[in-house]
Symmetry: C2
């Protein structure tokens, strides 16, 4: 068992930071997109400007990196009074695998000034279904489910019984299996939950992320997250997915959109 | 009157492309974020890889550029069979003002394979309210409304009569005032419509975009767009906004999310 903190650790090295990408934070042999964002975010935080947390992160996924050593380079683009903006690149074998734009700033746990994002009504954790990393008929092992427990609302589960739902939505409780509480970097993993909406709609196979954008809104309270994901449309081989995450107090803590390629 | 094509024109120059930023595509003296994205997109398209259209664009807004000359530099990050990914930077006075990640690919007008994004019901254009560039009490002129006609659903208009709506949503018909039809680059402007949701909620003042992400989904049919914008939460001085745009045939053509800074 590797903890989230261990799996995303970086240390200063020539050209930036050295990371050791962990094969357990993966779907099949493809490292998880949210996990790679978290490694990039760890390196940006390690640069140690006065701005503690990522508040907006976008990554272009260029080439899937392999598990093992990778370098993260970080470039400061602008430092202001309330935010700092960076470019960060994950490099392996001298090729950029992921390039990201990261805005760092302050986060707190204050009540919202205004919100339209009420936490979703869903069955309790015990009445939801823990997703297995191995499932019959899956062409690959979903290793990330060993390290991030997903308890899926049974109403999202039709696909697993061969009865895809046309709603294009999932809802789940998420916990880190290492027992640690959610923090702004691990929230980046939670914003890219399993399964992809394409699978829920009955499209088998991998849905590689082209671009993922995450906004961190609040420091999460201890306890499990509620995470919903909704697609708007699948067309011309591309799907959008919007994820929202609420903490155990029912406050919105993070949200994301991604564009993924699918073969339908 | 400058057309959209003229306002976003670029020509090859040392270090990339030269653009002449047009003060009419602005809110007060701040150039419009979607317009700046369109200039960056024009330069990426001018590089002339085999991938015709932007499909995913994210920009970090670092410093507001002034109207007038600016340079756009474009770096190819990866060229694949179906997409190419670029970094593009808008530079003025040797400082990067906007840095973007752009994925180029193919777009068509095929029917969606699956959609949950039905076009919104709203009154016809003649029953909506054309927003003026000058309005009583506004601290600045919203020049962009001279070049992009916004006809707002009257149900979104309470803020203008001093009666903010708590829904945090707007819906409008948009047309280019130069009479040209929407295309993938001008859609980038439509995805950052006026007014900001903060104003609809009663918060006066500028809401500068920190980061904006747009996904282009389909080639638009001729005719006006329907554009909705919805915020999820305003907290800790930041607001998210999600925009969706449908063409005159009622098909989803583009969507965007942005994170903006506000003083509430």
């Amino acid at each position: 068992m590797t903890t989230f903190a261990e799996a995303t650790a970086v240390r200063p090295a020539e050209g930036g930071f050295l990371a050791d990408l962990d094969p357990r934070w993966a779907v099949g042999d493809k490292l998880h997109g949210g996990y790679l964002l978290a490694v990039l975010g760890r390196a940006v935080s390690a640069v140690g400007g006065g701005h503690a947390y990522p508040v907006a992160v976008t990554a272009s996924f260029l080439r899937p990196p392999a598990a093992g050593p990778a370098t993260v380079s970080v470039t400061l683009l602008r430092e202001g009074r309330t935010t700092a903006q960076y470019r960060a690149s994950l490099v392996q074998d001298r090729q950029v695998c992921v390039e990201a734009l990261v805005t760092q700033g302050a986060l707190d746990d204050a009540a919202p000034w205004w919100t339209a994002a009420e936490a979703p009504e869903m069955p309790g954790e015990d009445d939801c279904v823990l997703l297995p990393a191995d499932s019959p008929g899956s062409p690959f092992r979903v290793h990330i489910l060993d390290v991030v427990e997903h308890r899926l609302d049974p109403s999202s589960l039709g696909f697993a019984m061969g009865q895809p739902s046309p709603a294009g939505r999932t809802a789940a409780w998420l916990r880190l299996a290492d027992g640690s509480e959610w923090d702004p970097l691990s929230l980046l993993v939670a914003l890219d939950p399993a399964p992809p909406i394409s699978l829920v709609l009955g499209v088998k196979g991998w849905a590689p992320t082209v671009s993922l954008t995450a906004y961190l809104r609040r420091l999460p309270a201890p306890g499990p997250l509620r995470v919903t994901m909704q697609a708007a449309e699948i067309t011309s081989g591309r799907m959008d997915e919007t994820a929202m995450a609420w903490d155990a107090k029912g406050n919105l803590v993070a949200q994301a959109t991604q564009l993924a390629a699918i073969r339908h």
